[in-house]
Amino acid sequence: MSQAPTNATLAPRRYGAINWIGLYTLYRKEVRRFLAVGTQTVLAPMVTTLLFLAVFVLAMGRSVDLVGGVPYMEFLAPGLIMMAMTQNAFANTSSSLMIAKIQGNIVDLLMPPLTAFEITLGLALGGLTRGIVVGLATAAAIWVFVPLHLSHVWAVVFYAAMASLMLAQLGVVAGIYAEKFDHMAAVTNFIITPLAFLSGTFYSTERLPDFGRLLAHLNPFFYMIDGFRYGLIGHADGSLWLGAATLVAVNLALLVANYLSFERGNRMKP
């Protein structure tokens, strides 16, 4: 009479090694989240990038000579595009986790049948997409004023993707760590912005004093900007292969760290 239903539909759903539908859903949620407020997430970086371009070109004056064989404006443009990409990739994942934690809807991320790896990947790819979209938008805006050439397409694509991915993953780290908006502001103000500003976006590290150059070359942000700039103007300050290896290594390390955080539920599960 009261037999347990043997209905096959009640059996747990089975996935292969990866829950593709779940992964895609999380990714889509992350992308739609920033596209819904496109004015702030895409248009705003375009405006700020153009402002920086105007300010630096006007402040340096016409007296500035060639940097690395190209006019200062063309030297500056790739750095500004890269800065916009990285800042936005970071903002996407960090704000997503931060707000979810504060509003309590982080359970929506932890309850679905997603493995720690899938969560990490979905979030990171969402941030990567934001970085690329912002990169394309700012490049289009800058292109109106500065001629951009694609000298080495592979470098442009590789460094854009690696840099966005790295900052998206750093955003996950920050989003997991931070418990208040103040913590997030501290991470942005005291770590991310200084690393981005002092990475050779606005100046060439070649003419820094030896110690300054050593410091600059210890900053992973330097390699992102340098490699990306190489793709656009064909000139690099540092070693491209060292840069590529550094970025791949940092990305892998962050992937493992974030995987472990989600696996353990650091600061997310009671």
């Binding site: 004015t39 004056g61 912005t193 100046y203 060439s204 003419r207």
Partner: protein, 270 residues
């Protein structure tokens, strides 16, 4: 000795023309709120100002510009000081209102026995103080890297006050009008940041093309920065007296508008 029904009870507290205690309490609350978490409310702007100085210094040094490096830093430093003070004043005013509206504690302000003018003055006082404190902190740190002279203390105080007041008033208006944090970000990115960045903060407006030079004269923030710099260095791009007149007029109009909005309870009362 009979009490007329409906007349106010005899123990009703009476104020003179101005409720000084209430005004002071509101001013104090706003100033404290603007500076409560000093390690990022004050240190954040200090760090970002230093980054701007460092980046301009290195950009000029490594690109071989002919403009004198010390000249550029001495030129930028006063602009940065007033810029961070103004940013803080705006953030303080707009942030307070949007936060209070969201948390539904705006009633605390509306119920208190304060007249509309006292409310406007309380917010203005608090936010100008917070802005001034941040500006002072940045000035102290900047002293190590640039020569800050004092040409006219009166002008510094006047233009400092006018600048923070202008931004605090815009902040109050935005805070009253905005329903979401998005509107705050939109006004900041698309209005205030361009007004500040394109107003001679980092470069001499004489470097601009002619049309832009005449356009900049319609930007009140230009007079704030130029006047403040005049107070330090004794030279400027515009006549400080004209700037003072324009700022007084703009602030008076914005003050009147804010007063009317409070008086009517626009977007604040049901």
């Amino acid at each position: 000795m009979s009490v007329v029904p409906g007349s106010p009870p005899s123990n009703l507290r009476r104020f003179g023309a101005v409720n000084w205690i209430g005004l002071f309490a509101l001013t104090q609350r706003e100033a404290r709120r603007g500076l409560q978490d000093y390690n990022y409310q004050i240190l954040g702007p200090v760090v970002s100002s230093l980054l701007y100085l460092a980046v301009f210094h290195l950009a000029l040094r490594t690109t071989g510009g002919t403009a004198s490096n010390a000249d550029l830093l001495n030129f930028i430093a006063p602009g940065l000081i007033i810029f961070v003070a103004c940013e803080k004043a705006f953030e303080c005013a707009a942030g307070s209102f949007i936060f209070d509206k969201h948390e539904r504690i705006i009633a605390d302000l509306l119920m208190a026995p304060l007249s509309s003018a006292e409310r406007v003055l309380g917010y203005l006082g608090g936010c100008c103080l917070a802005g001034g404190a941040v500006g002072l902190a940045v000035a102290l740190v900047t002293l190590f890297f640039a020569d800050l002279s004092l040409y006219s203390v009166g002008a510094l105080v006047f233009f400092g006050l006018m600048g923070t007041m202008l931004h605090a008033l815009i902040g109050i208006l935005v805070g009253i009008w905005a329903e979401k944090w998005d509107s705050y970000a939109v006004v900041h990115t698309f209005l205030l940041l361009p007004l500040s960045f394109l107003s001679g903060l980092f470069y001499r407006v004489e470097n601009l093309p002619e049309t832009a030079q005449s356009l900049v004269r319609f930007n009140p923030v230009f007079y704030v920065i130029d006047g403040f710099r005049w107070g330090m260095k004794g030279t400027g791009s515009a006549d400080p007296a004209i700037g003072a007149g324009i700022l007084l007029a703009v602030n008076a109009v914005l003050f009147a508008l804010t007063y009317v909005w409070f008086r009517r309870g626009y977007r604040l009362k049901p």
